[in-house]
């Protein structure tokens, strides 16, 4: 078999694995409940953000700014839910013992774990798409989605705003990819979905606390890498959203490749490499004694 045939066969295996993952996950009540919760959070958030703005007489002024503001808040609440959902990705197969049936088919362990990661990324994109859609939908309802203007002076054209928003959301995938790799690592070591969820929640709280320790004790980890030095889940991690958040105030984004973004990429890459390598080794070496 030639190299290109092997590549084609492997690509086909990934497509099949991801497709079957989608079929089984989006029929699983835990996943549906998680996405339902995210949908609910976004809708409720939109209502609260709008009426909060009305109360203090400071408004987003545009549907676009409203969407950014909403996504920023939703991500804070949605990340833990998404993290827990991703934690069960591999554990679901071990818990149901379906791993035996998968690994006795022409599917290698490496293909299985990589396909789970691809599935995780798709689930992240779906989550962000839900938040964005609700943000833009409600933003349009409250303020409209036209050009951003001030005193009839056009600050930014709508096309420019959506282009920058798309770039920002692409960068936003980077911290989520790291979170997905941590979830996958937890999942790879778990034998039940319940265990994976509990360990995931413990890990989430642990990293939150770990992220608070340096600041609380006054330890300076270095201006450049704080708050990324620990894998916490504070909203400061989502740098691209903060950059986007400045746009409605009239600050244009001249360059996305800023030092803040670079710091985020470096730290997230290091964590990703560690978690992902451990996940692959764990799945490849594991004896499935079920």
């Amino acid at each position: 078999m030639s190299v290109s045939d092997r590549v084609r066969e492997s690509a086909l295996v990934y497509v099949r694995l991801v497709r079957t993952d989608m079929t089984k996950l989006f029929r699983y009540w835990v996943v549906l409940a998680g996405y339902g919760a995210m949908f609910g959070i976004a809708l409720l958030g939109a209502y609260l953000v709008y009426h909060g703005e009305q109360a203090i007489r400071v408004t987003s002024g545009s549907g676009y700014a409203f969407a950014i503001s909403l996504v920023l808040r939703c991500v804070d609440f949605g990340a833990p839910i998404l993290f827990v959902i991703l934690c069960i990705l591999f554990a679901l197969e071990v818990g149901n013992q379906t791993i035996k049936c998968i690994l006795t088919r022409p599917v290698t362990r490496l293909e299985l774990i990589l396909s789970k990661y691809i599935t995780a990324l798709i689930m992240i994109v779906v989550c962000l798409a839900i938040f964005s859609a609700i943000g833009l939908g409600t933003g349009w309802y409250y303020y409209g989605l036209g050009d951003l203007t001030e005193n009839e002076y056009v600050l930014f054209r709508a096309s420019y705003l959506y282009q920058e928003m798309a770039i920002g959301f692409l960068f936003l995938l980077i911290p989520f990819m790291t979170i997905a790799s941590l979830a996958l690592m937890i999942s790879a070591f778990s034998s039940t979905t319940g265990g994976a969820v509990i360990i995931g929640l413990i890990a989430f709280v642990f990293f939150q606390i770990l992220g608070l320790i340096p600041a609380t004790l006054g330890i300076r980890l270095g201006e450049n890498f704080f708050p990324y030095a620990t894998l916490g889940f504070p909203s400061q991690r989502y740098v691209p959203l903060y950059i986007l958040d400045d746009l409605p105030t009239g600050v244009p984004i001249d360059n996305w490749w800023t030092w803040d973004i670079q710091k985020m990429v470096i730290i997230c890459s290091i964590y990703f490499a560690i978690f992902f390598t451990i996940s692959i080794v764990a799945v490849k070496k594991r004896d499935f004694v079920l």
Partner: protein, 308 residues
Amino acid sequence: MTGEVVLETQGLAKRFGDLQAVQDLNLQIRQGDVYGFLGPNGAGKTTSIRMILGLISPSAGATRIFGHDIRRQFRQAIRQVGAMVEGPAFYPYLTGRQNLKIYGRLSGGVSDSRIQEVLEMVGLGRWGEAKVKGYSQGMRQRLGIAQALLHGPKLLILDEPTNGLDPQGMREIRGLIRRVSQQEGTTIFLSSHLLGEMEMVCNWIGVMHQGVTLVQGKVDELLGHAADMASIHVDQTDRAKTLLKEKFGIEPQLIKPGWLEFPLQDRDLFPVNRELVAAGLSVHSIAPRRRTLEEYFVNLTGESKDVR
């Protein structure tokens, strides 16, 4: 032994800490065989199957399926294999058909009509749209066999396939195994501790006990072609026992009330019958019979509560 070697293990061994679960397992299964892998619970059968399929790594030894090493050439080795290891495994919140669709997709080339065909083969034709969480143990077992048959494998590995089935279900699965073997030419490797079941479907057996393969060979060769036992159904077993000892030097065993058995040893049963009747005993039946697999097995491994 003329067929191509389909499955071969060489010195396969597995150690869990201090426990030597399997040692020096050497199997050679040829095309068309129905190989029964026997042993009491805890003998190491399932561990062996897991190693054969690459689910766990062996401490020593190698497995070749269709000439491909299971660890180095996994995809080529496993492509033509269908397996059910230690019970069926499914997504309980999906229907039987959806589960088979998922597994079929992973194997590739499994059509909807093939899914319906295997559902009907295992007697679940009307239950494909029901969720697996509502299935009985027997139905799950059948679905487990269906997923193993889905892609028309050339080697079928079934670990305790009749677990949880009622006698009618066992009979159906036995028929299915025979059909798959004879009509589709599939080589079948079965593990079980239900010796009666295995005797009825297998032409080869291997006996495993405490991680060691005690014996393997053709069923006919191991149990003998000819009858080597005699059984008598008589009304007064005590009198019959005394008579048989006095007249023929036979020491029969009481198998169950009214039934005696003794080794035949080329003995003619007509004089035995004549003596019993002449002594006024009512002989309901007297017949030679072949030793059962269970007797052969118990002889090899000793009595065990796990063997039925």
